[in-house]
């Protein structure tokens, strides 16, 4: 029972981060039908920019309160990622909207590698220690279940952001324009919506979320490096597909489900395979799940079946 609760908690922490990144994938997909491969790398950019700010600030003004440092990190990481996300859309994808279908995909892969390489140039290949600005001192609310303030913080922040995004999409003018554009670019354009602007806004919002996810991710694992975006990016994509790509609540649910599956999988895999496989296989759960979902329910858990236009 304690293991169960513990694994649930661990799953929720990673799952809420996946959900944040998955939202970015799903928003862009919903509006452009494009898998933005580079999205996971924005998480990396967010984490490393935040780290850079924090260490600069810390050496310039020693003894600042950790919350100030964290805030400063976030406040630089988010705009930087938003700018990068905007540039990617503007320079890379916009010209390819009507190109044959492989072109934007290949460009996206190129952008992903470009971001990683640039990060490698700026920050080197080594793993950087990400400071633990929110306490990680374990607490034991229930016997046998360990939870840290950082974990609670992660879950709370992630859920707050998701709620905020849902409000934005469902209640605001921009949200309405986004939904209209996702439905049909040209018609939205005819109705006076600036489709290019809406698409850019989508990239910007998604990138901002990825930056925050990056800071949360790096805080939880206490590590940042140039290739850190790949695995969570892939998992977040899985989460988006799991929930039904293009579907915002789906991405959130998908993220949480994936986090839980992974956490339980890693906890029980040795039993399940009679010791043949161990927890170093944790990462394959996401892939296997992705494969299974795509094969058996490509529209995702919450997705509706959409007929292909003939």
């Amino acid at each position: 029972m304690e293991t169960f609760l513990q694994q649930t908690l661990n799953g929720l922490v990673s799952g809420s981060i996946y959900a944040l990144v998955a939202l970015g994938y799903t928003m862009v997909y919903g509006i452009l039908g494009l898998i933005n491969f580079a999205h996971g790398d924005l998480l990396m950019v967010g984490a490393l920019v935040a780290l850079q700010t924090i260490s600069l600030l810390n050496s310039a003004v020693p003894g600042l309160h950790p919350v100030v440092l964290l805030l400063a990190g976030v406040l630089t990481a988010v705009p930087v990622c938003m700018a990068v996300g905007y540039l990617i859309e503007r320079i890379g994808y916009r010209r390819l909207r009507n190109a044959p279908k492989l072109a934007p995909l290949i460009t996206a892969i190129g952008v992903s590698f470009l971001l990683q390489t640039l990060a490698m140039i700026l920050w080197g290949r080594e793993f950087h220690v990400f400071p633990q600005l929110v306490s990680t001192t374990p607490m034991q609310p229930i016997d046998g279940v360990v939870v840290s303030p950082l974990q609670i913080f992660t879950i709370v922040v992630a859920f707050a952001l998701m709620a905020g995004l849902m409000l934005l999409v469902n209640k605001s003018r921009l949200g309405r324009a986004m939904r209209a554009t996702a439905e049909n670019h040209r018609v939205a354009g005819l109705m006076g919506i600036n489709a290019n602007g809406v698409i850019a806004a989508t990239f910007i919002i998604g990138s901002g979320l990825a930056a925050l996810a990056g800071v949360l991710f790096a805080s939880n694992y206490a590590i940042a490096h140039y290739a850190m975006g790949f695995t969570p990016g892939l998992k977040a994509f899985t989460a988006a597909v799991l929930g039904g790509i293009g579907n915002l609540p789906g991405a959130m649910v998908g993220g949480l489900v994936l986090g839980l599956v992974e956490s339980f999988g890693a906890g029980y895999i040795e039993h399940l395979t009679f010791g043949f496989l161990n927890s170093s296989y944790q990462d394959i759960f996401a892939f296997i799940m992705l494969g299974a979902v795509l094969i058996f329910r490509p529209s995702g858990l919450l997705g509706e079946r959409v007929a292909d236009r003939a």
């Binding site: 890379g92 492989l102 995909l105 597909v241 010791g275 296989y281």
Partner: protein, 362 residues
């Protein structure tokens, strides 16, 4: 003279008569190792690797360029071929089978892996397929890394070494040999063996391209619904493309294993898949000559960077700002983006033919 105007027009503004082109390329391919040897064996080694990459690029091109299926885990088939050779021709399990058994087996296993992966996934949309294949590549790598316990199959991250070299007709290609009294280093022997494989691969793929199968692939790539509407069994054709592409990957992998004498999971990372994809994209998806060019250019790139970019940076800045590996990644990623934006048809502007037309008019 207008006969040369419609042929291969190179950006620099000079063009070649096709009657000259072909013998020139053959001559170049034949003398390349001899020229390279005068600069040192390491350059011949680069050529050897170039030939392996050409084979990989030919195989991936068949999948991406002909059939339009974006496979981001292609290197997994290379791995299957390489590990097959390592298992069946090394002291690791104490099995030492000859190449004419191991190489076809590796190809067959790779094809089987391709079919296994393709069977459930090929009805997916293109972009989903890309991600699933990427995941597949990673799964294969995770297994290679971890299947050293509880039973040691792959020897984990350490990899397998002392792998048997390629021995053809009693000639051990890993030894320098004397041919007609000429001292021939191992790397040169391997070059010609690989070149023979590349030529065979090119002939086979070209035959596929100009056939009802190649046209069916191109049809699926250009418009899947329309392809179905003229009666093409798109699923079967895609599986065939996947299996054939994988086969070439498997053969290249086996040769790599023998040549290198050592395999480890590190050689089969996602980056490698992307490198091969860039070769295909750079040369021009579908265009065989372009793909060969792309593969040769990009294999030579890191070596050229090592030899030229580093001294140049030293001269300019007094230190190495960007090491060759980083520079290579930078150029690769930029190549992919810029090619798609500016020149999506690739460096060589030739259109891919799917029918013989030289007889009537061309």
């Amino acid at each position: 003279m207008t006969t040369t105007s419609s042929t291969l027009t190179l950006p620099a503004g000079f063009s070649l008569d096709p009657r000259v082109q072909r013998p020139l390329v053959i001559l170049l391919a034949l003398v390349a190792p001899i020229v390279a040897l005068s600069f040192g064996k390491s350059w011949v080694r680069v050529l050897d690797f170039a030939m392996l990459y050409v084979m990989l690029a030919i195989g991936l091109n068949l999948v991406v360029g002909f059939a339009g299926l974006l496979d981001l885990g292609y290197i997994a088939f290379y791995a299957v071929g390489a590990y097959t050779w390592a298992f069946l021709a090394s002291p690791h399990f104490g099995i030492h089978l000859p190449f004419w058994v191991v190489l076809p087996l590796g190809a067959a296993f790779a094809a089987a892996a391709g079919i296994t992966l393709g069977f459930p996934t090929l009805r997916l949309r293109g972009d989903y397929l890309a991600i699933v294949t990427l995941g597949f590549g990673e799964i294969i790598r995770i297994f290679m890394n971890n299947l050293n316990q509880p039973i040691n199959i792959t020897n984990g991250p350490q990899g397998i070494d002392s792998i048997d070299p390629l021995v053809i007709g009693g000639v051990d290609l890993s030894m320098d040999t004397s041919i007609f009294g000429l001292h021939t280093p191992s790397v040169v022997l391997y070059y010609y063996a690989f070149l023979a494989c590349v030529v065979a691969a090119l002939i086979l793929v070209r035959r596929c391209q100009i056939s009802r199968i190649g046209r069916a692939w191109a049809a699926i790539r250009d418009d899947e619904l329309a392809a179905k509407a003229i009666g093409i069994d798109t699923r079967a054709m895609k599986l065939l493309a996947f299996a054939m592409g994988a086969t070439f990957g498997g053969v290249a992998g086996g040769l790599f294993s023998a040549f290198q004498g050592f395999v480890s999971p590190e050689s089969f990372s996602l980056t490698e898949s992307i490198v091969v994809l860039t070769m295909v994209v750079l040369g021009g998806m579908g265009n065989l000559a372009g793909v060969v060019l792309g593969a040769v250019l990009l294999t030579a790139l890191p070596e050229l960077l090592r030899h030229f970019a580093v001294p140049m940076q030293m001269a300019l800045f007094g230190k190495t700002l960007l090491d060759p590996e980083v520079l290579r990644m930078l150029l690769l990623s930029l190549a992919m983006i810029v090619m798609m934006l500016v020149r999506p048809a690739g460096l060589l502007p030739a259109r891919t033919r799917y029918a013989h037309r030289d007889r009537r008019n061309a």
